[in-house]
Amino acid sequence: MLFRVDPASAVPLGDQIAACVRGALADGTAAPGERLPAARELADSLGVNVHTVLRGYQRLREEGLIELRRGRGALIVPGATAPDRARLLTRLREAAAEARELGLTDEEFLDLARAGLR
């Protein structure tokens, strides 16, 4: 899968790396069950800090898109629903960014999201 990050962007590099995995999963260039490159390897490829990559991987783990296994690296969660989940998470982030642009506070955005669930 392709990783591309822009240090000039306002988005933290770790989040950009997470977005690459989400995007690859959503468009099918990465498959459920696939193994991600080791954090150290990817950091060396991109020329960024290992901790930056690990922050990105940690975010993906919190979102339930990857599993981190000691000594075995990062694995995209197996199962057919992972791509759909990645698409949903991408849209959620887009919505959050749009809300910020509109000047909404986090609390207001969450209220709207809750209202949307009812």
């Binding site: 990783f3 990050v5 260039t29 696939e34 193994r35 390897e41």
Partner: protein, 322 residues
């Protein structure tokens, strides 16, 4: 996707095939002759499997062992004749020398034995076989000069304008990484190990280490990770970090994606060296092909190769501009 003309590189001279078949034909002729000449002096069954101390612990019928050995030599000979290339002719002679000598020595150990259980096969047989194999390998290498070198590959310039590119911002950092596995290589490796184990049970025990020697590197290559980044192209086994294949970005003249046929273009799976191309060939199908500064090609079969080629071309050009 382009398909390069392959006819030039594929044509194997008849003389080369004959030279590859020759050592096997000789061995497969000499081996049954041993049985004919020594027919009255060999026990039946023969001691054909030995403990590490050299004492016999496995037996095979005389006729069965003669047929088995001859068929094995002929089968290997057929394989080498079909897939031989000029730079590997020595391998055919090495294989025939090793196997032929081992078979012959085991039969020789049985000579004049009243009781096959008391036949002893010294470990030095292995050293003798290795020495004979080595000498024959040298001979095979010398004989390859009788065959003219393969013709030059089609010369092409840098990455063509229709080669894939990636729309990458000037300050953007990018890398591509993909894990890929080979079903044929895994199957062949496991089959070879199983065959070696079975061979060691019923035949000469050195078959097992011999099989492992070939199967283990094959299995290590069966799962690889392909990386494309600011350093260039790197292919390494997922099991061990080294050895790896690395093509530095500075050495990349162009990259493209192509459909490759493992058997037709590379004569099999694994790490393959051909006259003008090298490859890590895990399956037939989509491959990332890079042209090096020297004109040689390096190919690795990997899914999503188009993205990898696009990134390589873009990175190589970006580097050229700096």
């Amino acid at each position: 996707m382009t398909t390069a003309p392959l006819s030039a590189a594929l044509r194997v001279p008849t003389r080369l095939r004959a030279l590859a078949a020759l050592p096997f034909v000789l061995a497969a002729t000499a081996y049954p002759l041993l049985f004919a000449v020594w027919s009255g002096r060999l026990p039946d069954p023969l001691a054909t499997h030995f403990s590490t101390g050299g004492e016999a612990d496995g037996y095979t019928g005389r006729t069965a062992f003669a047929v088995l050995g001859t068929v094995l030599l002929l089968a290997l000979g057929a394989g080498w004749t079909a897939l031989v290339r000029r730079g590997a002719l020595w391998g055919a002679w090495l294989t025939a020398g090793l196997l032929g000598t081992l078979l012959g020595l085991v039969v020789g150990d049985n000579l004049d034995a009243a009781d096959p259980a008391r036949v002893v096969s010294p470990l030095s047989n292995l050293a003798v076989a290795a020495a004979v194999g080595g000498v024959l390998a040298l001979a095979g290498h010398a004989l390859s000069r009788l065959v003219p070198p393969e013709g030059p590959a089609g010369a092409e310039g840098g990455a063509g304008p229709d080669a894939p590119r990636l729309d990458l911002g000037a300050g953007e950092l990018a890398g591509w990484s993909r894990a890929t596995a080979s079903a044929p290589l895994t199957a062949l490796g496991l089959l070879l190990l199983a065959g070696g184990a079975a061979g060691a049970l019923f035949g000469p025990w050195p078959l097992l280490p011999l099989a492992a020697l070939i199967a283990v590197p094959g299995l290590a290559l069966a799962r690889v990770r392909v990386n494309v980044d600011r350093h260039g192209l790197t292919v390494r086994s997922m099991l061990v970090p080294r050895p790896r294949v690395h093509v530095p970005l500075a050495d990349i003249a162009g990259a493209d994606v192509r459909q490759v046929d493992a058997l037709r273009e590379f004569g099999g799976w694994g790490y393959r060296v051909r006259a003008h191309r090298t490859g890590v060939v895990l399956r037939s199908g989509e491959a990332l092909v890079v042209r090096r500064g020297s004109g040689r090609e390096f190919a690795v079969t990997v899914p999503d190769a188009r993205t990898a080629a696009a990134l390589l071309n873009t990175l190589a050009e970006r580097r050229g501009r700096l």
